[in-house]
Symmetry: C2
Subunit: 193 residues, 2 copies
DNA sequence: TTTTTTGTTGATTGACGAGTCAATAAACTT
DNA sequence: AAGTTTATTGACTCGTCAATCAACAAAAAA
């Protein structure tokens, strides 16, 4: 019963299943069979489309980052003032799509992967650069020469808030996270203006 | 040629080797054989003393946290003012013993482990509580009712700075990390005093 | 209609690794 | 001296899993 044009559908299903499984087990120790099963196919087919488990992981990572990037762009085009720009980035960073258990768990594991897989490292570096430059655009008018340092701090704080969510039980509290980051932002900016 | 009283020596060697190997490979995918080899013994002996790989990981985690705890206590007993107390905690958090590649890599992986191993989760929770209360002791006189929130922010920032170090190349920059945290602290405290 | 391309899987291979065991040996105990 | 405890390892078991293969099915192209 092979319908044609399955490739993109299967690949997408696998990518999503990968994220779910990594998020669910909280580790990269997920078997291709697990992922394939959740995506509703045989493990052989998963290999057929992706070639290797590592490719699957990288595709999943790209997917998470693509969603993130899209949300940032979306929020950013509504922003008028510099402050709004920064707020937009924060809102996107803690959006429901990104700041949820599965994604957070996946994100943490990508960090681990980045330590041994150069490809993953590169992807994460791209994310960091993008975050930095997005923040910087809004921060320069607000914080002047301290913009660089504030952006670095804010970036680290965002990552830290993700990390802390890992140990919490219950659903992630976006409002609290955004609040914490905004708090930092306001405190740092007040010193200049 | 069995000398007696080897147990503590072997165990310590294994714990240190575990940290080194996890830090070196950047993942929990280290074989017991690798660890045992680095510690200068057979894998069978490693199993003899620890029973399982998981026990080895937990012992390594306890070790890292013990060092951290000792450094905090050491720095804390020299502190006179509240501000000095907070500074002491920060200094310990980014001390050469803790803020080095191996330990950082190990730390990150413990976080991952905490997602699936309840024991590890508990250990990490202990660390967080201790950090929180240490910070709070210094912060309450400085930040009053905002102390809780500042402590949470500082805690997240510290973890975030660790996380960011993972992707950097070259040796960790303690001074920069402490500076960033102090920066946050000063900004938050200024709003009160 | 034959052939090729695309989709799909059950079965298999081959490697690797955690944990066990039997055996050996040195030290302590009685 | 005989027995017990501690140290130590090579060899082995048993399971798991990534990756491959052979085979089958259906659509598209020839």
């Amino acid at each position: 019963m092979p319908k044609l044009g399955m490739e993109p559908i299967r690949k997408e299903a696998l990518v999503k299943a990968t994220i779910v499984e990594i998020g669910r087990t909280g580790s990269l120790d997920v078997t291709v069979s697990q992922i394939a099963k959740r995506a509703g196919m045989s493990s052989a087919l998963a290999h057929h489309y992706f070639g290797s488990k590592e490719e699957m992981f990288l595709a999943a990572m790209r997917h998470v980052m693509t969603i993130y990037g899209a949300e940032v762009r979306g929020a950013l085009c509504l922003a008028q003032t510099p402050m709004e720009r920064v707020e937009a980035v924060l809102a996107a960073s803690f959006s429901p799509a990104n700041f949820r258990r599965e994604a957070i768990g996946a994100w943490l594991n990508f960090w681990v992967l980045a330590q041994s897989a150069p490809q993953a490292r590169r992807l994460l570096a791209v994310y960091q650069r993008r975050l930095r430059s997005n923040l910087l655009a809004g921060l320069r008018p607000l914080a002047g020469s301290r913009a660089e340092s504030v952006a670095a701090g804010l970036g680290a704080l965002i990552d830290g808030l993700y990390l802390r969510e890992v140990l919490k039980s219950g659903p992630p509290d976006r409002t609290a996270a955004v609040g914490m980051a905004m708090d930092y932002l306001r405190a740092q900016v007040r010193l200049v203006g």
